[in-house]
Symmetry: C2
Subunit: 393 residues, 2 copies
C-alpha cells in the first residue's frame, strides 16, 4: 500500500468557501485580513494574501536553518516558530497571477501548498492576487464551453505535440453550425496550458459570449516551441527559437483543426494572437500569411523585440508594412497592448513598432493594462479587449 | 470569485523521446543504466530509474543538512557531493506509477524535477517505473480521441464541479453517430484528473480501438467526492464520504452527458467502473440503478470494504445480490480485479465478495495484476482487461 489515504481532499478547485476563509469586514486592518490564496491546494492555509496585496508564506520545515519566499524577483526571509513553521510577508504585489517558489537551505522547490502551473520554463508554484476587475475572468453561472486536449503527431518536427481547443457553449448542441477560430499563443518559458490555467481564456470568452459582447468562436492553443528533428531546443535571451513553428501552424495545426472541428475555414473567420514571444511569432506568421488570417493581437510584444530603434518599413520584416493602405485593406483588426509597469525592453520596442504603424497610417487599436507588468493580468485584460473586436459581421 | 479553475491536463505520456534518455545496451550493468524518468519535467536529469527498477533521486540543496527520498512508504537518505547535489538510490520498485516526495531538513516538498499529479490527497511528485507490458498504454501512431474538460454547477452540492470526457477518434467526424458511455471513477485521495494523467485511460482505449479489441465509446471521469451543502467533509478510515455522489451521478452527471454528447442513452449502452473507493461507490450505484447501467468494473475494491468476513446475501447491500439469477440477467459484465501484491484489507474483502458471488452463482470475470500493489499499474491493467468486454453487440 503506497498511497497515503489519510489526507483526502475534495474537488481540486480552490473552494475558499467552506469555512476556510475568515470573514472580511471593512473594519479589519490589512494586517489581520490575510486569506488563503485561490491558487492554493484544497484546504491549505498558506500562502495567504491580504487587502494590501501582500503575500504571507508558511512552510513547515522544523530542521531547516533558512527558509525564504522567492516571489517577484525578491527573496523574503521567513521566521520559524517553536513548532517549526516558517512564516513571513512579501511587499505588496501587482494584481493578478505570479509564479513563485520556496528556498529551503539553498534548495529551490515548489511550495507544497500551492497548485502548479507551467511557466518560467518549469512546472512550479503560482499565486493569484485578487484584482479589482477579476469579475471578467470569474467562474460564473453562464453557459460554459469545453476545453479539449488534442494529441497529434507532427511530421515537421517528428514529435508528438498537443493543443487545447476551446469550443463555445453552443458547439455541442448546434451540430450544423460552423465557427470562426482564434489561434492563441503563450509566451517564452510557457506552454499550451498557460492560456487556460493562468489566463482563464475559456472563462473570459464564456463571460463575453454570455454578455453578447463577443462572437461564439473556437480558440486553439498550441505550443509555440517547434523545432526540426534533432535541432537544438536551447532558448537564448527570450528570443523565439528556430522558426519551424510557422510551418507547423500553417501546414499542420490549421489543416488539422479545420478537419477535426466545425470551423469556418477562411481568412475572414481566422484570427491569431499571442503574448510576448507569442506576439512576436504570430505577427510574423500573419504578415507572411494574410491569405490565411484577417486579425492579429499582439499582447506585450512586437516582432522588432527587443529592439527599440526606429523602424524602417521599407526593410522591416522584408517590407511587409511598406504598403500601409494594403495592410489596412487586409487586416480587419490589429491590436497592440502593454502593461503600464512592463520592464525594458517592451515599452521601447512596442513604442517603435507603433510609431512605424503611425507613419504608415496603418490602423490599430492600442490598450494599456493599468498597474500591471509583463504578467498574466496584462494578458487576461488584453484578451478581454481583443475578443470583442473579432468576427463582427 | 473563489473557484480557481485549474484546467491543466498533465499529459504524462512517456516523452522519453527527445534525446533526454541515454541509449541502453544489453551489456550495461543495472548500476550504470539509470535513465531520467518519463515523468520528469522536460530536460531534468533526475530522478532516474534503472533496469532493476531502482530510483535514483537528485536534489540540489547546498546548505541542507539532511535530504531524503520518500518513496513507497520508505525514506532513503541522500548523500551530498561537493557541489551541494544530494543523490541516493531506493530499493527496487514495482512496475508502474508511484507518488513520492522529497524531505529537506524536515520539510516535505515536491521534487522540483518531476511533473505533478493529484493523488494521496495532494498535488505532488510522481514517477513512472517502466513496465514489461507498457505497450498497451503507450502513445502510438494510432487515431487519438479528445479529452474535454467540462465545467458544471451542481445544484445538489451547490458547488462547481468538473468532469473529463473522452470522446473516441471517430466522434468528431461522424456527426450522426451515437456512442455508448463508460463512467469511470478514481480512488480515495485522487480526483477526476487521475484516470488520464496517471491511468492513461485515453491511450489505453485509443490503442484497443485501433486494434479492434474494444468498441468506440465515451468515457466520463468525474470527481467522486460530493457532499451536500455545508455537510462535513471529514473522511474517516478511508470510507467513502457522504453518499450524495450517487445522487450527483444519477440526477446530474448522466443527464448532462446525455444532453451534451452524442450518447446512446440507455442501460445497454451504459457501463460504470471505479478503482478502490471508486469500485465501492460504483458497485453501490449500479446495484441501486440496474435500470441505468448494465456493466460494472470493480478494480481493487468491493462494497464490503474493509470487511473480510463472510457475506450474507440476504442482508448485504439490502439484499441486492439475493436473487443471483436476476443479477445475471441484468448484469452483462461484472468484473473484479486485484494486484497480487495488494495489502490488507483488499485481498480478504475482495475474496469475501467473490465467495458471496460464487455462492449466489453470479457470473463474473476475475483478473489479477501480477506483482503490483494498490497502485495505478493494477488499475491500468484492469481497465485494459475490462474495456474489451463492454458493449459487445
Amino acid at each position: 500500500m503506497k498511497v497515503n489515504h489519510n489526507a483526502v481532499l475534495l474537488f481540486a478547485a480552490a473552494l475558499c468557501l467552506n469555512g476556510i476563509c475568515h470573514a472580511q469586514t471593512n473594519t479589519e486592518s490589512s494586517a489581520s485580513n490575510f486569506k488563503p490564496a485561490s491558487t492554493n491546494q484544497q484546504g491549505k492555509m498558506y500562502p495567504q494574501v491580504n487587502s494590501d496585496r501582500k503575500v504571507k508564506a508558511g512552510v513547515m520545515a522544523p530542521q531547516a536553518s533558512k527558509v525564504q519566499l522567492d516571489l517577484g524577483g525578491k527573496r523574503y526571509d521567513l521566521v520559524k516558530d517553536d513548532k517549526g513553521m516558517w512564516t513571513g510577508e512579501s511587499e505588496p504585489q501587482d494584481e493578478g497571477f505570479h509564479y513563485y517558489q520556496i528556498q529551503i537551505d539553498g534548495a529551490a522547490v515548489p511550495d507544497s501548498n500551492s497548485k502548479y502551473f507551467y511557466g518560467a520554463g518549469r512546472w512550479g508554484s503560482g499565486i493569484e492576487i485578487p484584482a479589482h476587475d477579476q469579475d471578467f475572468y470569474g467562474l460564473k453561472n453562464v453557459p460554459h464551453g469545453l476545453v479539449s486536449e488534442n494529441i497529434y503527431f507532427s511530421k515537421l518536427t517528428q514529435a508528438w505535440r498537443r493543443c487545447f481547443v476551446y469550443t463555445p457553449p453552443s458547439y455541442t448542441a448546434n451540430a450544423g453550425t460552423r465557427y470562426p477560430v482564434l489561434y492563441l499563443q503563450h509566451g517564452s518559458g510557457e506552454d499550451e496550458t498557460g492560456w487556460i490555467a493562468q489566463g482563464h481564456a475559456n472563462l473570459i470568452l464564456d463571460n463575453l459570449i454570455s454578455d453578447k459582447k463577443a462572437a461564439e468562436m473556437i480558440i486553439v492553443m498550441d505550443n509555440g516551441y517547434a523545432f526540426k528533428p534533432n535541432a537544438s531546443t536551447a532558448i537564448v535571451n527570450n528570443q523565439p527559437p528556430a522558426p519551424v513553428f510557422e510551418e507547423v501552424m500553417i501546414q499542420e495545426i490549421i489543416p488539422m483543426i479545420d478537419a477535426k472541428f466545425r470551423t469556418r475555414a477562411n481568412r475572414d473567420n481566422r484570427a491569431i494572437a499571442g503574448l510576448s514571444m507569442g506576439a512576436n511569432q504570430t505577427m510574423r506568421i500573419i504578415m507572411n500569411h494574410l491569405d490565411t488570417f484577417s486579425a492579429i493581437g499582439g499582447f506585450s510584444g512586437t516582432p522588432n523585440y527587443p529592439n527599440g530603434d526606429k523602424l524602417d518599413p521599407a526593410v522591416f520584416l522584408d517590407g511587409k508594412f511598406k504598403n500601409g493602405a494594403d495592410v489596412n485593406r487586409k487586416l480587419k483588426v490589429l491590436w497592440l497592448s502593454l502593461g503600464t509597469k512592463e520592464p525594458k525592453p517592451f515599452p521601447a520596442s512596442v513604442g517603435a513598432f507603433k510609431q512605424m504603424l503611425d507613419k504608415q497610417k496603418i490602423k490599430y487599436v492600442y490598450a494599456e493594462s493599468a498597474e500591471t507588468g509583463h504578467e498574466w493580468q496584462s494578458w487576461r485584460r488584453a484578451l478581454h479587449g481583443y475578443l470583442p473586436l473579432l468576427f463582427k459581421n
